[in-house]
Every structure is written in structure tokens, then in C-alpha cells.
């Protein structure tokens, strides 16, 4: 199952998209003849542990200017030959370079942790132990729980949970036939086992079909919009989608369950969710919706908070949203920002990566529209440090101090954390706060894709899921075939291990204690 042949592997060792420079590594028994065509420098003449300034070549065109260091095995991190490439740290650039190597068959993409794995292999612990270690690590961070999880759509997430339950059910059903046959009886056992086999088989088949055909859809990260009732969540949602998908009204609590739409961003599909407003309510349906909303927060990759800075109801200490962290905070109702004092001391408490001020009032649209006028609510204000929204800033040092307290320097309404680290093309808005022609959808697209890039460089996660699901489907069919031929239940359980190992990669290891607990919880055992 696991391929431990010393294939040549490559990967970016830096978190994509943040640094100005990213380090790429290629490890394996390197034959320079296969790599020469990608580098301007003559590889046969480079010395180990020296740094070379050279160019990456794709045919005749130059992809990037890089620094190259060669570590000869075993004097390297992995113990194998390693080429280290210091390239410009733009996500696209890294992807292009890696693609160049991989598509030409010079190497393959490294699995998660594979460099470290090889280091073990070559230096510290035996192969067999390294495999064991990987098992344990996989069990601790199965795909379903790994950082990539937030990338999964709710549907796939649910299916994984279901898969775990059904596998546990099948294993319990088999074990039941050995340790507790007297308790359930031969007939009862047969029924339980057939049901468990059918259900798990069905779930695996379904998962497999979907993984094959709807790969993109399954891996669509959640972008969820939160706020208290009537903050303008649905208006934001509609504004982004350009349709009246959510029912918008002035009556608080209109959106009781959540409403979702898929959005195509570049090559990535995201699911935009409009959630029920969070507030204390005696209405049962609404309370149920709120619970769901808080669960969605946990599951979402990208979290937007819509808040009306003039709404006293928001700034009460019992509001759970005040203490939560968001990727984007949208201040709605900013059209009145000149006349009324917003609740600034509280605004200061909000935790957000980026902020945007806007108004839904004009033509029902936000920012972009209002910004086209010279005296729009925000736009021009930030060019000087006084103006229409001066009262907002007066009490604090720095332009938008309260909102960007942790940030250094004056930043536009759409502020970026740590502008020092952000290169030009990652800045949300390079010219003007929300300049003309830049609509909310585009803003969202940029920052969502930026976040996805941080979590999952190069779509590796998606590929891993699909390939493990393929493997599972394969193992399952072999197992199913055996169930019809093998009457020895202990042998069947031994065969099930192969399915289990694959399932464990998705949902984590299932301990014998889990199985026994499941049996005790669901069956009346004991004479």
C-alpha cells in the first residue's frame, strides 16, 4: 500500500504564499542527467554545500531566478541526495516549478511528512519502525481530522463520520460472532452481520463514485457568514452572489437555518453559507438554528463576521461572536458613520484578520458602489487622516487604530496582517481602499484563495483523499469477495485488517477497545 521505494520526491518546504522566498527540496538518488535540462548551471560541475545563483528553465523560457544548493547523501536532512532550490515565494511560481519537474517525470510530489520519514529511514530508525511510526502518525491525524479537514465540504465530512461508524459496526458485528455468539444467537448474528456488510459497502461505493466524479465539489471549503440577527448577513450574501437567494427583511431572525451556494473561484469551488443570526431567543426553531450556526463555525475554513457597529445588541458580553476569531469582518451600515458615534470601545475587542466598511443602503449594494462617489463613506478618508470618519479614529493613535491594533502602519479598510510579509500581489488592494471596479466578490475571492493557499498548497490534500478512497474501494471489493467464500470468521477478521488500514488513513485507527465499547453500548451482552 505504502510506496517506500526510494522514488525521487519534491516539495515546497515553506508555507506557500507567505514568504518572499520559498525553499523547494528534491530528495532521492539523484541522477543529474535527468535534471540538467531544468537548470542553467552545469549540475555536473557544482560542488556540494555551495550556493549557486542560476535560472530555472522550462524549455527555452526562464521560469525563475533561484539559488541552488546541493547536499550529497548521506550528508543531508534525508540522508539522500538533496537539491535545495530557493525560489521566489509566490504560490503560483512554486507550483509552476514543481509542476515542471513532476510533469517531466523527474520526480513525484512528496507525501505529507515524507522528508522526515526518509530522514528516519536513512539515519535513525529502521524501515519497519518508520512504517510503524507513520501508522501511528496517520492514526493521530487521519485525513478526516488533519488540517485539510476545513477544506472538506460538510457533505464529505459527514460521509467520513458515517464511514467510521459503519466500519465500527461491521467490525463489532464480526467480533460479536466470536466473543458473544451465545448472547446474540446464530441467527441474530447473521442478520447483524449482513446488515453491517451491506451498509458499509453502500457507503464505500457512494464515496467512491463521488470522489471520482465530484472531486471538486467534495473538496469545497466553507465560507460562512456570521452575525447577530439583522446585521446584514443576507445582504452581504446576496451582494456577493448577485441574487436574492436569502430572504432579506427588516425583521430580525429571518434566516433560521443556513443557506448555501457554490461559488467558483479560479479553479477552486467554495461553498458560501449564510447562517442564522446568533442571539438569545426563546424561539425553539431559531435556537436550533443558532446551535447549528456555532457548529458551522468550527467546520468552516473561512469565517466572515457581518456587524453593524451602531447596533448595541451586538456589543453585549453574552454575545459569543465577540470572542470568536474571523478572517474578515464586514462593518455594515457605514452610511451613518458621520452622524452617530459607533461603539468603538467594543469594536476594538473584535478579532479579525481583515476589515471592510460598507453600506448596503445605496442600491442595495455595498462598498464598490458608494466608493465611486468622492465623498463616499470610506474611500477618500484613508488617504488623509481626517475626514468624514475622523470621529472613529480620533481617540486612537494611527489611522484605524482600534480595528487594526496589532497591525503596524496605516492600512486601508481592507487591512492585511503584517504588511511587511505580504508581497505586492498578495495585498488585497494595492491602490486605494476599495477602489472603483473592485467589487465584494473580487475581494472575497482574493482573500479566500489566499487562505486556501496557506492551508493546502497545490491541492495535495485533494489528491490524497481521492487516492485513498480509490484504494479503499479496491480493498473492499476484495474483502467482499472473500466474505462469500470464507466461513472462518477469524480469517475474515484478519482479512478485514487490509480494509481497516485504508480506512484508518481517512478516519483514524480503530482500537479493539473501541470495538468492545461499541458492542457493550449496543448489545445486551452477558448471561
Amino acid at each position: 500500500m505504502n510506496d517506500y521505494r526510494p522514488a525521487i520526491i519534491a516539495s515546497s518546504s515553506s508555507v506557500a504564499g507567505v514568504g518572499a522566498i520559498a525553499v523547494l527540496r528534491i530528495s532521492g538518488d539523484l541522477n543529474f542527467n535527468n535534471f540538467q535540462k531544468f537548470f542553467k548551471v552545469n549540475l555536473s560541475k557544482i560542488e556540494e554545500r555551495y550556493c549557486y545563483y542560476t535560472k530555472i528553465l522550462d524549455g527555452s523560457s526562464v521560469l525563475d531566478e533561484i539559488l541552488l544548493v546541493f547536499f550529497k547523501g548521506p550528508r543531508s536532512f534525508t540522508g539522500e541526495d538533496v537539491l535545495e532550490i530557493h525560489a521566489h515565494g509566490n504560490r503560483l511560481n512554486i507550483k509552476n516549478i514543481l509542476d515542471l519537474f513532476i510533469k517531466n517525470g523527474a520526480c513525484r510530489m512528496a507525501k505529507k511528512g515524507e522528508f522526515a520519514h526518509r530522514a528516519f529511514l536513512n539515519k535513525k530508525i529502521s524501515l519497519i519502525q518508520a512504517e510503524g511510526l507513520e501508522r501511528i502518525i496517520n492514526a493521530k491525524t487521519p485525513l478526516a481530522l488533519s488540517s485539510g479537514m476545513s477544506l472538506l465540504s460538510g457533505k464529505l465530512n459527514q460521509q467520513y463520520t458515517e464511514l467510521f461508524k459503519l466500519f465500527l459496526k461491521l467490525k463489532s458485528a464480526l467480533e460479536l460472532g466470536i466473543d458473544f455468539l451465545e448472547d446474540v444467537g446464530e441467527e441474530g448474528h447473521h442478520k447483524i452481520l449482513s446488515e453491517a456488510l451491506f451498509q458499509l459497502g453502500f457507503a464505500i461505493k457512494k464515496l467512491h463514485q463521488q470522489a471520482k466524479h465530484f472531486n471538486k465539489e467534495l473538496l469545497s471549503p466553507h465560507v460562512a457568514v456570521f452575525g447577530i440577527p439583522n446585521a446584514g448577513k443576507s445582504s452581504f450574501f446576496n451582494c456577493v452572489l448577485g441574487s436574492d437567494r436569502s430572504i432579506v427583511s427588516d425583521i430580525p431572525g429571518t434566516t433560521r437555518d443556513y443557506i448555501s451556494e457554490y461559488l467558483e473561484f479560479d479553479s477552486t469551488t467554495v461553498m458560501l453559507l449564510d447562517t442564522a443570526g446568533v442571539r438569545q431567543s426563546s424561539d425553539l426553531i431559531e435556537n436550533f438554528g443558532i446551535k447549528k450556526t456555532l457548529a458551522l463555525y468550527e467546520k468552516s475554513l473561512f469565517r466572515v463576521l457581518v456587524v453593524n457597529p451602531f447596533d448595541k445588541d451586538f456589543f453585549i458580553t453574552t454575545n459569543p461572536l465577540i470572542n470568536m476569531e474571523f478572517d474578515l469582518i464586514v462593518f455594515s451600515h457605514c452610511e451613518d458613520i458621520f452622524s452617530t458615534d459607533p461603539f468603538l470601545p467594543f469594536v476594538e475587542l473584535l478579532k479579525g484578520e481583515r476589515f471592510v466598511f460598507c453600506s448596503f443602503k445605496e442600491n442595495g449594494k455595498m462598498g464598490p458602489v458608494s466608493l465611486q462617489t468622492e465623498v463616499g463613506p470610506i474611500g477618500p478618508v484613508f488617504k488623509k487622516y481626517e475626514g468624514p470618519i475622523a470621529p472613529l479614529l480620533k481617540k486612537f493613535s494611527g489611522p484605524i487604530g482600534p480595528l487594526a491594533k496589532n497591525l503596524a502602519g496605516p492600512i486601508g479598510p481592507l487591512s492585511c496582517l503584517n504588511p511587511v510579509q505580504v508581497s505586492k500581489d498578495q495585498l488585497i488592494l494595492s491602490s486605494g481602499p476599495i477602489g472603483p471596479g473592485c467589487n465584494l466578490l473580487q475581494i472575497l475571492e482574493k482573500i479566500v484563495l489566499y487562505k486556501i493557499g496557506q492551508v493546502s498548497p497545490d491541492g495535495v490534500v485533494a489528491e490524497r483523499h481521492v487516492s485513498v478512497i480509490e484504494q479503499l474501494f479496491f480493498e473492499w471489493n476484495i474483502f467482499l469477495d472473500k466474505t462469500s467464500k470464507q466461513s472462518d470468521i477469524a480469517i475474515l477478521l484478519s482479512d478485514l485488517v487490509l480494509v481497516e488500514e485504508t480506512i484508518a488513513e481517512l478516519v483514524g485507527q480503530i482500537a479493539s477497545e473501541d470495538v468492545l465499547n461499541n458492542i457493550f453500548d449496543n448489545f445486551c451482552i452477558g448471561k
Binding site: 510503524g132 493521530k140 467480533e175 467464500k485 477469524a490 480469517i491 468492545l516 452477558g526
Partner: protein
């Protein structure tokens, strides 16, 4: 006059104690069992049966190691059952109903037959250790012993519950002994309380057997004791009967919820989920309105019948009411009421794999006091503790059973490496190498351990012969390949099989549609080779499962090396390369091996990678 100093003193005469004293006495040491007056040796105070799935394998392992239980069970058996007969040889087991009076007498006779073993009937009040253990008894006499094995079962701080009535006691009509902390002043304290229970006993003359389903004995079941003739029965065989408790009986229990000590808070100890009381069943499965009740005779010389499945601590009149709702028991006369017992258990993580206290040299614990349930589990621990106390008296290496080689090994390893919150019972599901831990090869698996004792008894000679025979048969299994000329007769013998042309015997043994034992016996006999059924059985199944065992073994190896890696929790708890949270958990759980570390919840992968990579 100088006082006798025993080499090994066993405190308690239950299944663990009997087994410990028995094996220790084989080593020609001075051994004593100190047991409470008026408490029978090796009694079966709960259900009168020995063996079962997983447990039956333990009895055979014990037997092959030279233990007592298998032989005693055979001598006292009044019914045999083969369990999981249709599920494959690997998980097939034997269980017997024993005549509980005969069982006690047989064990007592066996122990009395040892000249170097003394049975002392005194209640112990205090234990101290100076150079040797000083065991102070109620009459203020003192017993001195170099090593001490504690097998006190449910007696330490034992408390009985029957409805509102509570009494101190280790079991019905028996006193209890002091609690752990008062018995082992300055040595040990406990704090963990477990609970178990037993059903009322019914007068067999008051049961209407005519309307009940009969469960006869299995004549094909093979005796536990490997030296005896496989199907020899000492006592006449009898049947058990099957009935059910129905809605009306369960309703009575449900109406009396607040009078049940386990539901009204009177009992705080934790009972086993796999052995629920009838109250548990009634409340935990409100939708089920029928549960099996097996009626098991306790002895030819007693009138009591054990109704398996209705363990209870409800008040006596409630017991009477619900029992009489059970078909066949309408007129039932209860001879002894059911009750629950709460007792002290020790934290077994303070023991090492030879069951000795890590902190106190020479002090061993075995049996129910270690938080296990079941006579077989107790006996196995008693044997391990007894053998190790004896071996250490001669400065010999301890007897440490590998969990991949025996259920006893699984039991001991689970006990000393994990913490449990309910009584522990063996299940085959706990054994990673289940396909190897079979009834048929128990002798083969135990022979290497037994031979290290350096004894030369009947069992040792038998083991050596058995090994030799296996080596011989294995030669036959692996050398024979059928020629083309034999194809026709082969086709006749195995009409269900395709492609028998040029097939190896080993291949035939592995085919799922054939019974390996029958195939091997027939093929060997065709060649004029006649070997005992036990040996054929072992060889045939060994071949059948060999591929699977090999595959599982590779899997186990992958994890085992790393899992066994020793780590230093103190050093790790202060290691700056490990996250604060992980350090807290390491401090709390003090894992000794990498395997234990990896099982702790909340330990991060980064920590594991770091630790795996450390030379500690």
C-alpha cells in the same frame, strides 16, 4: 525454637491462590496458603462453569504450563459445550459446567498431596515487611515468609448488598478481610472499588423442567487436560436448561428501580458491562422485553441451581417476585438470594509483567484483587505469580508470556500497562494474534515456557513428544505433492474442489471448503500413518492459518519494535522540545514505552516523531 520461615506464602485460597501455591510447590519450596476459616478452597461462588470463548484457551494454556485448573475441571465436569463450532478452529473453545462441591474437593486433594504445602486457616489482620513479610493473624500469631502472593479476590474491604440490607463480607456467608489500606499499613493504599454480583440460587426440586428447552452435553468436546484421554468423562453428564425472563418479570424490576442498590446510589463501585445485572438489562435496554436465562445445576450433592442471566442485588422479596414470573420457575423456591459485592482492587500499573510490585520486592498480586473477573483469569494470574515467586527464589529469569503467544500474555500485559474503569475480562478481540492463539496448539505454544522451569514431570515429557510429533507431521505436510496419476482418486475424495491436479497437501489444508483436520487425517491414514487426534488437529490448523499468521506477524512487527521502545517520562516532561500540553499529559500518565505514549489522548504527532527519534 526458631520460627518457620516460608519461602512463599499465598494469601487466599481461590482459583488464583490454589494455582499459585500448586506451581510454587512443584519447585520444592516451603509454601503456605493462608485462608479465612470457613471459606472453601477453589470454590465457584458465581456461575459453576469453567472455560468459554478465550477463557477455554486460557485453561488449556495453563494446563500445558503445568497448571491445575484444566485437570480439575475435567475431573469435576458434568457438562461439556463446544463454543463457536461453526466459526473456525481459531476461535473455537470449550466450556464445562462443574460440580462445585467435587471441584473444591478435587483441588483440596491435589493441594494436600503436596508435602511441602501447608494450608493455614486464619484471618489475617496486618501485613508488614522487614527482611521478610510478617503476616499477623487475628489470633495474634505471626507467619513469616520470604515472598508473599496476595490473592484475596473480593474479600478486601468486601461489602455485600441485597436491597437495603448491607453487610461486610467477601461473599455470601463469609466474613470480609481488612481493606487494602488497613491490611498493608505503610505499604499500599487503594481507593479503587469494583462491584460484581450473583443471581439467587433456586431449589432444583421447585423447577418445572418439563416445559424448558434442554441443552445437552457435547460428547465431541475434548478434555482440557492434555494428558488425559480426550473424551474421558469422570462424572456422569447432565444437561442445562434454557428459559427466558419476559415482560412481566422485567416490569417488576422496573417498578423497583429505587430499591436497587446500583441505581439508588447505594453502590458506588463499578460493575462490568459485559456481565450486567438483570436490573442493568431492564433499564439499559428498555425496548427489550425478553432475556435468556440458563438454568445450570451446581452439584450432584446440592439442590441449588444457578439461573444464569439474572444476577441481582434487589431486595429478597423483589427477587422472589420476578423469579416466579419466569416460565418454569413459577413455583421456584430460592435457597440463597442474589447479592452484589463491592471490594477493593489495586492499581495494577504498579505491578510488573511477573505480577510483582515494582516498589516492593517479593510482593505479588493475582486474581480478582487485580480488578479482573472470571475464575480462569484469576487462575492464570495465580500461576504466573506463583511461578515467578518460585523462579525468583532460585534467582532464575522470570516467566514472561508474550502477548502474541498466549491469551495469558494478553491478560497480563493489558493488566500491567493500562488503567481500567471496570473489571477486566478476556475477549479474543483483545488478542492481536488471535489466529495463532488456538486451543489445538496450546501445548506447542507453551512448551518453550514450560521447559525453562527445568522440571521433568509427566507434562514435560508429553510436551517434548508433542513437539517431536509436530515436527514429523510438518515434514509430511510440506513434502507431499500429488502426481498426475493420483488426480482421479483425489477428485473422488474431494468432489467440491477444482484443480486438484498436482496439488500440495499443504494447499489442500488451506482451502476454505475443506476441513483441514479431516483432510490431514485421511491423507495420513491413506499412507498408513496414524497419529493422535490432538497432533493431527494442531498440525492441520497450523498449516491452515500459517499464511494469515505470517501476514499479521509482519504487521505486528512493524509496530512492536517501536512500541516497545523504552522512554523516560521524567526527562520528557521537562523537555523543551515538547509542547507544554503534551508535557502535562506525559507527567500525568508517566508512559514507560513509546507504545504507551502513543495511546495517550492528545499527544501530538510532532511529539511522537520527536520521541521516536530520540536516543533515550
Amino acid at each position: 525454637m526458631s520460627k518457620t520461615i516460608y519461602d512463599i506464602c499465598v494469601l487466599g485460597g481461590g482459583h488464583a491462590g490454589a494455582e499459585a501455591a500448586w506451581i510454587a510447590s512443584e519447585f520444592n519450596l516451603k509454601v503456605a496458603i493462608v485462608t479465612m476459616p470457613n471459606v472453601a478452597i477453589a470454590s465457584t461462588p458465581c456461575n459453576p462453569s469453567i472455560g468459554g470463548v478465550g477463557k477455554g484457551q486460557v485453561v488449556r494454556e495453563l494446563d500445558a504450563l503445568g497448571g491445575l485448573m484444566g485437570k480439575m475441571a475435567d475431573l469435576s465436569a458434568i457438562q461439556y459445550r463446544i463454543l463457536n463450532e461453526s466459526k473456525g478452529a481459531a476461535v473455537q473453545s470449550t466450556r464445562v459446567q462443574v460440580d462445585k462441591v467435587a471441584y473444591q474437593e478435587n483441588v483440596l486433594t491435589a493441594l494436600r498431596g503436596r508435602k511441602n504445602l501447608k494450608i493455614i486457616e486464619l484471618k489475617v489482620t496486618k501485613i508488614t515487611k522487614e527482611n521478610v513479610f510478617k503476616i499477623v493473624c487475628e489470633n495474634l500469631s505471626e507467619i513469616l515468609s520470604k515472598k508473599l502472593i496476595v490473592t484475596t479476590g473480593t474479600f478486601l474491604g468486601g461489602k455485600l448488598h441485597c436491597g437495603e440490607i448491607q453487610a461486610a463480607g467477601g461473599r455470601a456467608n463469609c466474613e470480609n478481610s481488612a481493606s487494602v489500606s488497613s491490611l498493608f499499613q505503610n505499604i499500599l493504599s487503594s481507593g479503587i472499588r469494583f462491584k460484581t454480583g450473583t443471581p439467587p440460587r433456586i431449589d432444583k426440586n421447585s423447577i418445572n423442567y418439563k416445559i424448558l428447552e434442554v441443552q445437552p452435553t457435547d460428547t465431541g468436546a475434548v478434555n482440557f487436560h492434555c494428558l488425559s484421554s480426550p473424551f474421558l468423562r469422570t462424572l456422569p453428564q447432565t444437561s442445562c436448561h434454557l428459559t427466558r425472563i419476559n415482560q412481566s418479570g422485567l416490569d417488576i424490576i422496573r417498578q423497583n428501580r429505587n430499591r436497587s442498590p446500583i441505581f439508588n446510589g447505594q453502590i458506588s463501585g463499578v460493575g462490568p458491562r459485559y456481565c450486567p445485572s438483570i436490573e442493568d438489562k431492564a433499564f439499559r435496554y428498555p425496548d427489550r422485553n425478553t432475556h435468556h436465562v440458563f438454568l445450570e445445576p451446581e452439584s450432584y450433592s446440592l439442590n441449588t441451581v444457578y439461573p444464569s442471566g439474572v444476577s441481582t442485588s434487589l431486595p429478597s422479596e423483589v427477587q422472589e417476585n420476578f423469579i416466579r414470573q419466569i416460565p418454569g420457575l413459577e413455583e421456584a423456591k430460592i435457597l440463597q438470594y442474589g447479592y452484589a459485592v463491592e471490594y477493593d482492587v489495586i492499581n495494577t500499573q504498579m505491578l510488573n509483567h511477573s505480577l510483582m510490585c515494582k516498589e516492593i520486592e517479593g510482593l505479588y498480586f493475582a486474581g480478582q484483587v487485580n480488578g479482573t473477573s472470571g475464575y480462569e483469569e484469576a487462575a492464570a494470574q495465580g500461576f504466573i505469580a506463583g511461578a515467578n515467586a518460585a523462579l525468583s527464589s532460585f534467582n532464575q529469569a522470570p516467566l514472561l508470556l508474550d502477548r502474541n503467544q498466549s491469551y495469558i500474555g494478553v491478560l497480563i500485559d493489558d493488566l500491567v500497562t493500562t488503567r481500567r474503569d471496570e473489571p477486566y475480562r478476556l475477549f479474543t478481540a483483545r488478542a492481536e494474534n488471535r489466529l495463532h492463539l488456538r486451543d489445538d496448539n496450546a501445548v506447542l505454544r507453551m512448551a518453550p515456557y514450560r521447559s525453562k522451569f527445568g522440571l521433568n514431570n509427566e507434562i514435560d515429557i508429553f510436551s517434548r513428544n508433542f513437539l517431536n510429533t509436530q515436527n514429523l507431521i510438518s515434514k509430511i505436510v510440506h513434502s507431499r505433492v500429488y502426481k498426475n496419476s493420483e488426480t482421479e482418486s483425489l477428485k473422488k475424495r474431494y468432489p467440491s474442489e477444482l484443480g486438484v491436479k498436482n496439488v500440495a497437501l499443504a494447499d489442500l489444508l488451506r482451502r476454505p471448503n475443506l476441513k483441514p483436520t479431516a483432510v490431514l487425517r485421511q491423507e495420513a491414514e491413506n499412507d498408513g500413518v496414524f497419529i493422535s487426534e490432538q497432533a493431527i488437529n494442531c498440525a492441520a490448523n497450523t498449516e491452515k492459518y500459517s499464511g494469515y499468521i505470517l501476514r499479521a506477524g509482519e504487521n505486528l512487527d512493524r509496530m512492536a519494535g517501536l512500541h516497545r521502545k523504552k522512554i523516560d517520562p521524567e526527562k520528557l516532561a521537562t523537555c523543551s522540545n515538547i509542547s507544554f500540553e503534551c508535557r502535562l499529559r506525559i507527567k500525568k500518565f508517566t508512559p514507560q514505552t513509546f507504545g504507551q505514549l502513543s495511546k495517550i489522548e492528545g499527544i501530538r504527532p510532532a511529539t511522537l516523531i520527536y520521541v521516536a527519534n530520540q536516543e533515550l
